[in-house]
C-alpha cells in the first residue's frame, strides 16, 4: 500500500516526472541555445516559467466553455502520468502487465486528441487551424511509429515494456538489430511531441500559437507540463525498448549509463530541431506515408524473418 502511494506520488510518479520534465525542458533549451550561439537559460528557468504561469489570471475568449478548457490539460496530464507508471525508469518497474506497451501508446495519444479539442473549443481562427493540423499530423506519424515500436515487441516476444527491456540482457540491445526502427521511432516521437521540424500545428509564423493561442495562466502551464512529461516518457520508453537495461557490477554505474542514454536522446531531439526547417503539412503527410511507412514495414519484415 505504502509502496503504491510512493510509486504514484514520488517515484516514478508525479514528483519525479514533473522534475524530469522540467529538467528535460532546460536541457533542450540549453542545447538548442548552444547550437544557435546563444547562452541559454539558467537551470531554474522552466520552473520559474511554470510558477509565473500558475500565478497568472486565466483569460479565455467569450463563449468558451471554461470547464472543458481547464479539464483538457488535466486529462492529458493524468494520461501521461499514468503512462509514466508503466514505463520502467532506470530499470525500476513500478507496475507492469502483459500488453502495457499498447496501453502506453494509447495513453500517449490522449494529449494529441485533447490538443485538437482545445483548438476547436477555444474559438480562435488560429486555434482551429492549429487543431486541424495537429490531427492531420497525428495520422502521418502515428502509423510508422506504431509499426516501429512493434519491432522490439516481436523481437522480445512480449508486449510488456519491462519484459522487452529485460530480454535485451540476453539478446543484446535491440538497437543493434533494428537501427532503422530506432530512427523511425525517434522521427515518430518528434512528430508526437510537435517539435521542430514537425512543429506544424504550432508554427509561430503561420498559426501564431496553434491550438494554445487563446490559452493563458494555469491552463497553459498545465499544457506546457504535459508536453515536457510526454517528452521524457517518450525518451524513457525508447531507451527501454531499444537500449535495454545495462547490468553493471555496481547499480550506480547502470544508472549513470541510463542517464547518458537519456542525454544522447535529448541531444538528438535538440539537434534535429536546430538543423531542420519546418515541413509543410502536405510534405509531412507525404513523408509519413510514402517513406516512413514502407521503411517501417521493411524493418518489421526483417525482424520477423530474423525470428524464424
Amino acid at each position: 500500500m505504502i509502496r503504491s502511494v510512493f510509486n504514484l506520488l514520488v517515484f516514478p510518479g508525479f514528483i519525479f516526472l514533473v522534475l524530469s520534465g522540467l529538467t528535460f525542458e532546460w536541457l533542450d533549451r540549453k542545447f538548442l541555445a548552444r547550437f544557435q550561439r546563444r547562452v541559454g537559460p539558467p537551470w531554474y528557468q522552466p520552473l520559474a516559467d511554470l510558477i509565473k504561469l500558475f500565478s497568472k489570471e486565466d483569460l479565455l475568449p467569450k463563449n468558451v466553455n471554461d470547464f472543458l478548457a481547464a479539464l483538457l490539460p488535466l486529462v492529458s496530464l493524468a494520461a501521461v502520468l499514468t503512462a509514466g507508471l508503466y514505463v520502467p525508469i532506470a530499470g525500476y518497474k513500478a507496475f507492469s502487465f502483459e500488453g502495457d506497451l499498447i496501453v502506453i501508446i494509447f495513453l500517449m495519444s490522449v494529449p494529441t486528441l485533447a490538443y485538437y479539442l482545445a483548438g476547436i473549443i477555444s474559438l480562435g481562427i488560429y486555434s482551429v487551424l492549429g487543431g486541424g493540423r495537429s490531427l492531420l499530423q497525428f495520422f502521418s506519424y502515428e502509423v510508422p511509429l506504431l509499426i516501429a515500436l512493434s519491432g522490439p515487441a516481436i523481437l522480445g516476444g512480449s508486449w510488456s515494456v519491462s519484459s522487452i527491456m529485460t530480454s535485451q540482457g540476453n539478446l543484446g540491445s535491440f538497437i543493434l538489430f533494428q537501427p532503422l526502427g530506432f530512427v523511425l521511432a525517434v522521427v515518430g516521437l518528434i512528430g508526437k511531441l510537435k517539435r521542430d521540424p514537425f512543429d506544424i500545428p504550432k508554427a509561430k509564423s503561420e498559426v501564431v500559437g496553434g491550438s494554445l493561442t487563446e490559452f493563458s495562466g494555469p491552463t497553459l502551464g498545465f499544457w506546457n507540463l504535459v508536453m515536457d512529461i510526454q517528452a521524457v516518457i517518450g525518451i524513457f520508453l525508447l531507451i527501454d525498448l531499444y537500449f535495454g537495461w545495462t547490468k553493471m557490477s555496481h547499480p550506480s554505474l547502470s544508472i549513470i549509463i541510463f542517464i547518458i542514454e537519456c542525454l544522447i536522446l535529448v541531444l538528438i531531439l535538440s539537434g534535429t530541431s536546430a538543423i531542420f526547417a519546418r515541413l509543410r503539412i502536405d510534405q509531412l503527410a507525404g513523408l509519413g506515408w510514402r517513406i516512413l511507412v514502407p521503411l517501417a514495414l521493411l524493418q518489421l519484415g526483417f525482424i520477423i524473418l530474423m525470428g524464424i
Partner: protein, 360 residues
C-alpha cells in the same frame, strides 16, 4: 470546405512591421488576400518642406531603419545636383562603401528572417550574428550602427585612414567565409529547398506589369540594376556584376540575394582598393537655386526614386520619395492566390517588405 478569413497583422508574429492583411483560406489553401497600409505613415514628405535642406538630411535618414544610408545618399545627390556641384571622388567612394555595407547587412537580415519563417531558427541566429560584423564596421567608421549620419550636403562627415582600411578588410574577410558557409546551408539544405523551391513563382511579364524592381525582379529574370544601368558616381567606375535567376520562385529570390551579398562583399574590397585621395566634403551655400531634379539609386530592395523641387529658398518646395517596397506590395495579393497557408510566410519574406519605407 468553408471559406474563412484570417487576419495577418497589424500584430502578428510573422510581421516585424505593421501591415494588415486579410487572407481568405479554405482548409490549407489560400484563395486570396487584401492589404491595408499606412500604419507607420509619419508625414515625412510634408515635414521635409518645413525644414531646411541641412536639417532634412537627418529627417530623411529616419525613413528607414535598414537602408537609412541610401535614402540620404539619394537626397544629398539630388540637392548637390540642384546646387550644380560635384562632391570630391573620395566622398563618393565612401558613400558607395556605406551603401554596399548596408546592402550586405540588409540581405543578411532578410536571410535570417526567411530562415526563421520556415522554422530554421539556427540560421536566423547565425546570420544575425554575422550581420553584426557589417554593423560593427559601420559603427567604427561613422559612429552609428543603424543611423550612421554619414552624409552631409557636399560630401561625407568622416574620413577613413589606414587603420580603418585594415580593420574593414579584416572583418570583411571573416564575413566572407561566414557568408559562404551560411549560403551553402541555405542553398543545399533539403528541407529549406523543399519549403522555397517552386513557391509562388512570378513571371517576368507580371514583374514588368507591376513595375516591381530590385532582387525580386532580378529573381524573375528581369535584368535591371541601377548600379549598372544608370549609375550614380562612383558606380560608373566600378563594374557591378548583376545577379539574375530565371526561376521566379522563393528559392530564386534567396539565391539572388545570397549571390548579391557576395558581390557586395567583393565590391567593398574593390572600393577600399580604389579609394582616391583628397578631401571628403565641400562647403555649400544654404540656399538652393530654383529647379527640379530626379535621382534614382539602387537600394537593397531595388530602385529608390527621389524627386526634389526647389523654389530658391533654404527649404525644399516638394520632396517625393518612391520606395521599391510599394511596387512589391501591389504584387502581394496576386502572389497570395492559390498557395498553401504554410507558404504565406515564405511569400511575405520573399519580397522583403520595408513598411516604414513604403508608408513614410
Amino acid at each position: 470546405m468553408d471559406k474563412i478569413s484570417i487576419p495577418i497583422g497589424p500584430q502578428h508574429p510573422l510581421l516585424k512591421e505593421p501591415l494588415s492583411m486579410m487572407v481568405d483560406i479554405a482548409g490549407e489553401k489560400v484563395l486570396g488576400g487584401s492589404l491595408r497600409l499606412g500604419y507607420v505613415h509619419r508625414g515625412i514628405e510634408r515635414l521635409a518642406q518645413q525644414r531646411t535642406y541641412v536639417q532634412n538630411v537627418h529627417l530623411i535618414e529616419r525613413i528607414c531603419g535598414i537602408c537609412s544610408h541610401v535614402h540620404t545618399t539619394a537626397y544629398c545627390y539630388a540637392v548637390e545636383a540642384l546646387l550644380g556641384i560635384e562632391i570630391p571622388p573620395r566622398a563618393q567612394y565612401i558613400r558607395a562603401l556605406m551603401c554596399e555595407l548596408e546592402r550586405i547587412h540588409s540581405h543578411l537580415l532578410w536571410l535570417g528572417i526567411l530562415a526563421k519563417h520556415i522554422g530554421l531558427e539556427t540560421i536566423f541566429m547565425h546570420t544575425w550574428h554575422d550581420r553584426e560584423m557589417a554593423l560593427d564596421i559601420m559603427e567604427e567608421i561613422s559612429g552609428g550602427r543603424v543611423s550612421h549620419a554619414a552624409n552631409q550636403i557636399g560630401g561625407v562627415r568622416f574620413d577613413l585612414d589606414e587603420e580603418h582600411g585594415d580593420m574593414i578588410r579584416g572583418i570583411l574577410k571573416k564575413l566572407h567565409s561566414q557568408v559562404d558557409g551560411l549560403l551553402d546551408i541555405i542553398e543545399t539544405e533539403p528541407a529549406a529547398i523543399a519549403r522555397t523551391k517552386g513557391v509562388a513563382p512570378i513571371s517576368s511579364d507580371l514583374i514588368k506589369a507591376y513595375g516591381v524592381v530590385g532582387p525580386v525582379a532580378r529573381a524573375s529574370g528581369v535584368d535591371i540594376d541601377l548600379r549598372r544601368d544608370a549609375p550614380l558616381p562612383p558606380y560608373d567606375k566600378l563594374q557591378v556584376k548583376v545577379v539574375t535567376h530565371p526561376g521566379g520562385d522563393a528559392w530564386a529570390r534567396t539565391y539572388v540575394r545570397a549571390e548579391e551579398t557576395r558581390v557586395s562583399l567583393n565590391l567593398c574590397e574593390k572600393i577600399l582598393e580604389d579609394l582616391p585621395e583628397g578631401d571628403v566634403s565641400l562647403r555649400t551655400p544654404r540656399r538652393v537655386p530654383e529647379g527640379e531634379v530626379i535621382i534614382r539609386s539602387e537600394a537593397p530592395r531595388g530602385e529608390l526614386f527621389y524627386y526634389l523641387r526647389s523654389d530658391g529658398s533654404d527649404k525644399p518646395a516638394r520632396l517625393k520619395v518612391r520606395t521599391p517596397t510599394l511596387a512589391a506590395l501591389s504584387l502581394l495579393p496576386v502572389q497570395l492566390a492559390e498557395i498553401n497557408v504554410a507558404d504565406i510566410p515564405v511569400v511575405l519574406a520573399g519580397v522583403d517588405l520595408c513598411i516604414a519605407c513604403a508608408d513614410r
